[in-house]
Symmetry: C2
Subunit: 506 residues, 2 copies
């Protein structure tokens, strides 16, 4: 196994992450921006929030990831002249030319963001990112932010589930590059599965850019490329610390006889090409011999001298097969996972949404006949309440102007969901879930390296109660609204049910 | 709907496609390259081929895509000094320093590729790409080529299935950016779903880079951002070609009464904020009015004046729901598809493999206890045999030194699969499936634009017999081996079964 920890992420990693161009968004963001501009509403202060509606994979939690990418995207947000000329060519011919001048000047200098730190355990319906700024600008950011958070959080959460299924001892190797959505899908997968709890990646570029330890085995093609022992070179070797060269081929033939005797096999059954391949590999890697033996006809063996070998298992590993593997006694040290990890087979998308919650200081709410699709109005704060054992007990969403809850002080709140009634809780500890990460165009929170986010994920997962971490049928985590937020929702909904417009509460 | 065709792909598109760095590969490619180099085998001429084992989505065919990306990757293949220093830091400390000097000089000037043109209909087990060159170099290319072909071909084939489900009339809009595997997963999805038969994308950058027509509707946030008719601006408009301004709000209120009368509804039930949003949008887009009405409480209506409206349907559309939709009479003109299209929910990976078939002019074969996992030895040619109606009838794989089959001349062959017996066929037409696309480091085939590859896909799909195109339970397409190739497989397999090494037939 060839691996070594690179120490930090360099400027090149930054430039890879930050190269998301602002044109990488849905066209309708521009058509809406123009409509706001046309109505002279583009500079109205507005607030959007980003959240997902269900924990992925039928699980009880998710990990939040993609924040560093979002911050770099915001910091570099600006349209080139070519971008603007392209937009001029696709928007209707009667679009006011002054709008394009406006686009050329646009940046995120009036935008601020509060967010959950990358790697945190998060739950459905809790706003993870709050983006405030001029209405047209924060509208334009929607698709890019969703794109950066959705897959990163999904694959990171998937990795965390594989880690839980594997248990803490076994090392996990991500090897999904060839099955990812193109080159950068693969790079994203390597970064965020590492944050989610994998130990190693096969992706050399991810190793270089993000400091992820890299590892690899051997391909079948290497084995099939050999046909005879004559291809082994050199045929003689000088022993380590010894004097005089030794005929390596003769030595191997001698050992082969002894091994075959132990295994009760015949040396005539050994394929010379395979033997030549393994010998050549051993010559190249005297300290790091790791041959591939899967798919070949091999008898499983138990030879005392082999106990120090590292065994890597790979074979279309899924979360379920990994969990099965972990239940049994076996000698596998490292498990390599590709397709099921990076494509998130059992749920290939997270479904984050980005919803308007406030314009000009007035709360906005999208109502829907499906209550799950309604949004929570107003600018908010989010707190995590911990129990006496330090486990997260519930997340509290309240209006930003409300006072923070206090440890040891009881509070009344409404669980999210239909027909839930008022309940009282006394938290042992209270933490604010989101931090100010971007203020008026400047990144105000350290850009975490992959290993820093990975450490946060481990700590965050450790504190989570085992019932919420269960891979199957986890206990639902409670998310509650403050009484004031709950009242605001009721007021707006009632206002709406009388056929009036969305009610404005203040 | 705002769309316009950009005319060609510029140099910037090329640079996006070609930026796949050669370090974006699995580490084991380097460890194997070193082992070849250590055994002085790195310059032995070798041939690999790329294929997939099963058509995706339970279908009868696939579309081949990703070729332009592969060619640009090969043309630019070279390691930077920083790449090599990184590799030095992760390979074992006793790796010979001369190997790193060798890597610094490496390029694809001795590599040649023959390939199926992008957009062609292809089938399982047929080698799509043949890569020949120095053993260590063509080994190093494996992961990158697989990464570039796998998702491109998968999502392109998925798009073709959506197109078949939709029928030819309805226009299809790809809108999956926010659900793709990060920014470039989204860009890849937009390009290859267009090639597979979509008409439009919501992704503005894909529009600019690849000349794909772009389209968009309106987000809910635009609607919820309005609360009263006072926000509509301007409130008066000058009629097209008319003189004197008109009070637009009064005019709308008048029309609203008449529409409500037709619908048997009350004007008091209309939400003023929604009305304000639609009016503002209409002011911004007098010729391109396309409001979002899904998720809102709307009565379906039939008003004569509305017949000229373009109706776009979007709601987590899958291949199945699209097929259902197409069976019914309805007025939907454009269908927008996101998640299920770009994530390929029903099969999120294609599983292409890259296998060694020849070294130093001698055929190589990987044998496996699972016959499906065995490979076909030797350097090959692939022909498509057409029947008298011009439909592809079967694909013939033979050794490259064999003469091409001729139209009207009968030939004997063996269908792939277990226990298949010799059969005779007389093709009405014969075409060579692969072309020389890269010769000794130079691209020797035009780099097709997205629209050129899309046109090939349409022509290729049109000629395919409907039985092979059926989305459910398609008829199996026949892939056959020439007698000589079949003999070679038998000889090697028998040689193997006697316990000897892989037999070399010539």
């Amino acid at each position: 196994m060839n691996r070594k920890m690179a120490t930090c992420e360099g400027s090149e990693a930054r430039s890879v992450l930050s190269r998301v161009p602002p044109l990488l968004t849905d066209l309708y963001q521009f058509t809406m921006a123009y409509a706001y501009w046309r109505a002279d509403r583009h500079n109205e202060p507005a607030v959007f929030e980003l959240f997902f509606r269900d924990n992925p994979f039928g699980g009880g939690f998710s990990l939040f990831a993609g924040l560093s990418d979002c911050l770099l995207f915001l910091q570099n947000f600006a349209f080139s002249d070519d971008d603007v000329e392209y937009l001029r060519s696709v928007l209707p011919a009667d679009t006011d030319a002054a709008f394009f001048s406006y686009l050329k000047e646009l940046d995120c200098s009036a935008v601020s963001v509060s967010a959950v730190p990358e790697g945190s355990v998060v739950f459905a319906r809790v706003p993870l990112l709050e983006v405030s700024g001029p209405l047209a600008v924060v509208q334009l950011l929607e698709t890019s932010l969703l794109c950066l958070v959705n897959y990163a959080s999904l694959v990171c959460s998937n990795a965390a589930r594989f880690r839980l299924a594997a248990g803490p001892r076994r090392r996990l190797l991500e090897m999904g590059l060839r099955r990812a959505q193109g080159p950068d899908g693969g790079l994203t997968a390597s970064r965020y599965t590492y944050i989610g709890g994998f130990d190693l990646t096969s992706n050399a570029l991810a190793g270089r850019l993000f400091g992820i330890p890299v590892a690899g085995t051997m391909a079948h093609s290497y084995v099939t490329s050999f046909s005879s022992l004559e291809e082994v070179w050199p045929q003689t070797l000088v022993p380590c610390g010894g004097a005089g060269s030794v005929d390596f081929i003769c030595l191997v033939k001698g050992w082969l006889g002894r091994v075959c005797q132990i295994l009760g096999s015949k040396t005539s059954l050994v394929r010379e090409g395979e033997l030549a391949a393994f010998l050549s590999y051993a010559i190249a890697y005297p300290q790091n011999f790791l041959p591939v033996i899967d798919s070949y006809s091999v008898s499983w063996f138990s030879v005392p001298q082999f106990e120090s070998l590292i065994i890597v298992g790979t074979n279309s590993i899924s979360e379920q097969s990994l969990a099965e593997l972990s239940k049994k006694e076996n000698e596998i040290d490292v498990v390599g996972v590709g397709t099921h990890l990076v494509t998130c087979t059992s749920q290939p998308s997270l479904g984050c949404v980005y919803k308007l919650t406030e314009v000009r200081g007035r709360p906005r709410m999208k109502m829907s006949e499906d209550p799950e699709k309604s949004t929570l109005p107003g600018r908010k704060s989010v707190y995590r309440l911990l129990d006496a054992d330090g486990h997260p007990q519930m997340d509290l969403i309240c209006l930003s102007e409300e006072a923070a809850p206090e440890a040891g002080v009881s509070l009344t709140c409404f669980p999210l969901g239909l027909n839930k009634t008022l309940q009282t809780v006394t938290p042992a500890q209270v933490t604010s879930l989101r931090l100010d990460v971007f203020t008026c165009g400047q990144i105000t929170f350290p850009l975490n390296s992959a290993s820093e986010s990975r450490e946060r994920a481990q700590i965050s997962l450790q504190s989570l109660h085992p019932l919420h971490k269960r891979l199957q049928e986890p206990q639902d985590y409670t998310v509650v609204l403050s009484e004031r937020l709950h009242s605001l929702v009721s007021d707006i909904t009632k206002g709406n049910s009388k056929g009036s417009n969305f009610l404005l509460s203040n």
